[in-house]
Amino acid sequence: MAKMKKKVKTITVNADKCNGCRACEIICSSFHATPKYSSVNPARSRIQVVSHRLKDIMFPVVAGEYAPAECMGRDKYIIAGKEYDECAFCRAVCSTRDIFKEPDTGLPLKCDMCEGEDEPLCVQVCLNDVLVYEEREEEVEAEDKPDELEQSLQALLDDHGLEKLADILARMAEKA
């Protein structure tokens, strides 16, 4: 099987160093404002600091993928005697909670690693090294992955059946 290079972007979160200042939320929300830096609103930030100050819990979570359905169950972590809220570490934008959604429309927010910048801005503003950015190349097996079109067609096939789909394609071919 052929090998190929893949770029992996990582933000390491040193949760023990977080002091809960939320500078990451502020820079994120203003960077992603339209026009850029025209407004601030931490509720729109794609990084959110989970804080229970008296419980000694402070750590940022970076917004991940939109999840159309909720998980079959929920996770609850206890680490070094500290009990974290349900799904505290989860990055998904999901129907069970408000985190990582535009406050006015509910549309999902996702971290884009501040495309175009040298490193994500949350990393740049964190002076306590809670957030550390790393970019590396990984060699992965080049799979014979179905491409996007094939995937979409497969979805249509699953929904409507081969016969119907073939009919439509034939009709469209005639017209063209």
Partner: protein, 663 residues
């Protein structure tokens, strides 16, 4: 479009339950900025001199600063403005934490509270939804505990909550308002909140704050960030007396550093009485380093600030709490307790009661002295443990609950002394304008501190000083080195003042800096504080430390980029001056006069009464005030405050011809 500010205040009348969102006049920013500045305008317009702290007409304003909620670093401060039960003058304690920004994101610059609720309530502000909620279940709960209970009740872990404890509910004159790792402590705003029957104010906001020229602002902030990063790696050395203050950017670094040799040997113990010059031994150092290192679980910051001035405290047998600044020393020193473990115990209890860490230890130490002098008796102290720690904890409980002797002590040393009588008045030796001061007693009169103690509206010295070294720098070489890198200065002439200022000899305290130079330096320092308090910036980034990241040459750029206001240095100074004079006039209208403007008699051993009067006169003249410390009509008119002059004239406080005769 309004930039940096929301353009709305929330007006709450507790007596009627009426809640209104009121658009503010956009012109006010150019006149007063925001924060304390616009609070002063509201207080002047709406709180008459006859109104007392516990009258329903007294306002209690929770205000964000102009830059709170923007990306400007350290713009975290909430200013609480009201009439003080202790001084009967304006109180404006500030706190950091997270409330001010959250209030902005909820869509309000200020919450203006008037009247009194018929039963204990808390205010819940969630964007456009505002409610007065029943707080009867929170009655008697601690100020720290209450914040957690409210977040749980609302199921809003991201709500920011400011709360009072038992002391506020019981209207202790020096009750604080606690919020996250911060508190608005001085002058009894917590008592006013208690009197209004408001247990807490909880806020959650998810709206936008707009920036006029965000790109430009971000560049300025990148510079500020680089500055702080550099200073963190290279702390200032010259003119820095203790590692805690001014070495790096931020509020006093009491959590980060353990070496307390300077404070514990230089400041006065007990009821601001005794300096213990040999206190800091190896044994003490070991105990304190060990105690502090073990107690601090994590360093904590305020909103949008990388500096870690607070600490999460986890000490065996003590519920967790957050701590900052000088409270680490005030109780231990006032109680003559040498073991730092005591600090964690008593501070947790005091913070949960919601009590000011400067006034309270002084009041308790005052009570102990009265007992030792036989003025307070065994009957007053019935049930009190005999050890120093136990006695302080017992007294703290009495004060917060207003039980027995605590009921008198709850009014502070000034009023308690007069009610107790029998010579107790002589033990009230460390107050200015009826307000307890820092526990410092020194040798030689210092002209700068004389003026700051005497005249500043804050009535709390730690929050007035800052950009100028606390004492003359010993060697000429070091002075030359110090002035080399000092771009923060408003004028080059200050460099010469510093070069000339020597620890001893002719060019030393008390006669140098001269009254005129002293006035210039003091005016300069308080201008910075006035700017910070209007903008909602932490004084640890500007007015309170040597060579800070924010200064007169970049404030205007920062303000302008955030708000769109066209502003230069002269314009900013004019606004600060306007705010200061309005502030002064507000207090003058309530009776403040020259006779009130004096430090404690024993603050210095060596005093010069006639020269001190000269100092005060020179300062008043510099400020454009008359001989009684009241702004003249000319000065007020020049600051667009003609309406203030007219009011003072109508009341007979300013009279015709006074300008020429006395200023």
């Amino acid at each position: 479009m309004r930039y940096a500010e929301t353009g709305y205040n929330l007006e709450i009348d507790l007596s009627t339950g009426n809640i209104e969102k009121v658009a503010t006049d956009p012109a006010l920013m150019a006149l007063h900025l925001g924060g304390l500045g616009t609070d002063l305008k509201i207080m002047w317009d709406r709180v008459l001199p006859e109104t007392k702290a516990f009258d329903p007409e007294n306002l209690l304003i929770f205000s964000s600063g102009l830059l709170c909620g923007t990306p400007v670093y350290s713009a975290s401060r909430t200013v609480v403005t009201t009439i003080s039960p202790q001084t009967d003058l304006l109180a404006y304690p500030l706190m950091g934490g997270f409330l001010a920004a959250e209030l902005k994101y909820a869509g309000y610059d200020k919450v203006i509270i008037r009247g009194k609720a018929s039963k204990l309530v808390y205010i819940w502000i969630h964007n456009d939804r505002v409610e007065l909620r029943d707080a009867s279940a929170l009655k008697g709960k601690g100020a720290i505990e209450t914040q957690e209970l409210i977040r749980e009740e609302l199921k809003e872990p991201k709500a920011q909550v400011a709360a009072i404890g038992l002391a506020g509910e019981n209207k202790v004159f020096y009750a604080s308002i606690e919020q996250s790792r911060s508190s608005a402590s001085r002058l009894g705003a917590g008592a006013v909140m208690g009197d209004k029957n408001v247990k807490a104010i909880a806020v959650r906001g998810t709206k936008d704050i707009y920036l006029a020229r965000g790109d430009e602002l971000m560049k300025l902030m990148a510079r500020a960030r680089a500055f702080v990063q550099h200073r963190n790696a290279n702390p200032l050395q010259i003119a820095v007396h203790s590692p805690q203050h001014s070495g790096i950017v931020g509020s006093t670094q009491e959590m980060k550093y353990t070496d307390e040799s300077w404070h514990t040997t230089g400041f006065a113990w007990g009821n601001a009485r005794t300096r213990r010059k040999d206190f800091w031994t190896k044994e003490i150092e070991d105990n304190w380093v060990n105690s502090q290192t073990k107690a601090i679980r994590r360093f904590i910051s305020c909103f949008n600030c990388p500096q870690e001035c607070g600490g999460l405290i986890d000490h065996p047998g003590v519920p967790r709490f957050m701590m900052k600044c000088f409270s680490k020393l005030t109780y231990a020193m006032a109680a003559y307790v040498d073991d730092l473990d005591f600090t964690w115990k008593i501070c947790q209890r005091a913070f949960d009661y919601g009590l000011d860490s400067f006034s309270t230890p002084q009041v308790l130490a005052f009570a102990v002295e009265l007992y030792e002098a036989g003025i307070l008796t065994d009957a007053d102290f019935a049930g009190c443990p005999t050890d120093q720690e136990g006695r302080f904890l017992w007294l703290l409980d009495r004060v917060a609950r207003r039980e027995g002797i605590g009921d008198l002590l709850a009014e502070g040393t000034y009023y308690a002394a007069r009610k107790i009588g029998r010579g107790a008045e002589a033990f009230d030796h460390n107050t200015i304008k009826k307000h307890e001061q820092m526990n410092i007693k020194l040798g030689m009169l210092d002209p700068l501190y004389y003026l700051m103690y005497s005249t500043n509206e804050k009535i709390s010295i730690t929050q007035i000083e800052g950009n100028w070294p606390q004492g003359a720098i010993a060697s000429r070489e070091e002075r030359e080195e110090f002035i080399k890198d000092w771009p923060q200065l408003p004028d080059e002439k200050f460099k010469q003042y510093l070069l000339d200022w020597e620890p001893r000899g002719e060019k030393a305290n008390p006669f140098y800096p001269t009254p005129e130079i002293s006035s210039e330096i003091v005016d300069w320092m308080e201008t910075l504080h006035n700017i910070d308090d209007a903008l909602g910036l932490c004084a640890g980034w500007g007015s309170f430390i040597l060579k800070p990241p924010y200064h007169i040459h970049n404030y205007p750029q920062i303000i302008s980029a955030a708000t769109g206001l066209a502003l230069d240095e002269a314009g900013l100074k004019q606004i600060a001056n306007r705010n200061r004079n309005l502030h002064r006039a507000f207090n003058n209208r309530r009776g403040l006069r020259r006779a009130d403007e004096k430090p404690p008699a024993d603050h210095w051993k060596h005093r010069y009464p006639e020269y001190e009067e000269e100092l005060l006169t020179a300062y008043y003249k510099f400020k454009g005030w008359n001989n009684e410390g009241i702004p003249t009509k000319t000065r007020l008119q020049a600051l667009n405050l003609a309406y203030v002059a007219e009011d003072l004239e109508r009341r007979g406080i300013l009279t015709d011809g006074q300008d020429e005769k006395e200023s």
